[in-house]
Symmetry: C2
Subunit: 218 residues, 2 copies
């Protein structure tokens, strides 16, 4: 599949690497044409890997991954262009973490809205699926770095889109039974507001290779 | 131990019942003297159970449980009185859920502050420990209603206070290995901002008998 990965940071690189290793034709998109990090990634990631602008990556991809910094995601997707995103699944893995006030970061949107919802609202012709934002990049593409079974959430308004994302997550190594559908895109709110707890869990456990397993019933 | 339980709702009743069953001398505190729910609870909970105002319960207790509605907690603790709370452990189990805008509730404080922090800030001579707010009342006092091991968080600035609360949680049936200290009272932020995710988990699992287990490392 042709995948456009928006974002050149650790998360973008990690996801682009994984997708390329699975045989997908990945274009990494950056704000500017000729972005060094995107170019270096494409040069090292095999013949089916390429780099371009956000618009190039979105236009080329059949599926789009938003791996930009959450506070810059709407601008990045605006640059990608609604026409390039229309009808496509946008896998939103971003967190709207605002580090401008120091540590711990706050969220630039929360409580009565969320980034996932904002993206869906801004691009109504796209099908946004929020997932993977509750774990770090290593865990996203290799859930086995966390011992035992643990849960990956996903949410979105489009059932078919969620099925496509489930299949992608399973190809990353997530067992089907560990995927938990939280319903419509409004679930993004809880998934993003979990981040302050995640940061404390990181501190308490001493590792970013962490996640939670949902346990229910007797 | 003499315990003052502030709050006459389901959480207050459930915790007061459990504490009384463990042999503690429990006074349930309410806004008004002669509160019917508190009186009915005390009448049915054995000879060491009693009811009074927030100030009565706080003055009488060696340990205080804040089980009031989170949006009313600061007013309740003000009514209890700083002098009655000074030097004591306040176990804060409340969530600042604001239902005034309908479902889902928002949080009346979050992101750059939390109820647990606000209480500690308002009552600097008390030792606030945030815990139990991440599960429903049944799970608080009977963790075995959720299958397998699952994690109870606690946080607070005072290590001795946290040790006392650990002992209390263990007496409720929480295995020591399932208790996770998230550090200072700033951890309340993550513990309270988890609530929107908890609400979605409730929807997804179909039961309030749910919790998460933290999994880390390989």
């Amino acid at each position: 599949m042709k995948v456009g990965v928006l974002g050149t940071g650790v998360v973008g690189h990690t996801l682009a690497d994984k997708l390329a290793s699975l045989g997908h034709e990945v274009m990494m998109g950056a704000r500017q044409a000729g972005n060094e990090k995107a170019g270096a990634w494409a040069a090292g990631a095999g013949s089916s890997a390429s780099a371009g602008t956000f618009a190039d990556a979105a236009g080329n991809g059949a599926l789009i991954v938003n791996a930009t910094a959450g506070t810059a995601s709407l601008a990045a997707l605006d640059a990608a262009g609604a026409a390039n995103l229309a009808g496509k699944v946008i896998v939103d893995v971003a967190n709207p973490l605002d580090f401008s006030g120091g540590m711990p970061p706050s969220l630039s949107v929360c409580n009565t809205d969320s980034l996932g919802e904002q993206i869906q609202h801004r691009f109504p012709d796209s099908r946004v699926v929020k997932t993977l934002n509750t774990v770090n990049a290593d865990v996203m593409v290799n859930p086995a770095v966390v011992a035992g079974s643990h849960t990956m959430f996903l949410c979105g308004n489009d059932t078919v889109a969620k099925d496509e994302v489930r299949a992608l997550l399973e190809s990353f190594g997530w067992p089907p039974g560990d995927l938990l559908d939280l319903g419509d895109i409004g679930g993004s709110r809880g998934m993003e507001m979990y981040l302050p707890l995640w940061l404390r869990l990181w501190g308490a456990t001493g590792t970013g290779h962490l996640n939670v397993r949902v346990a229910a019933g007797e």
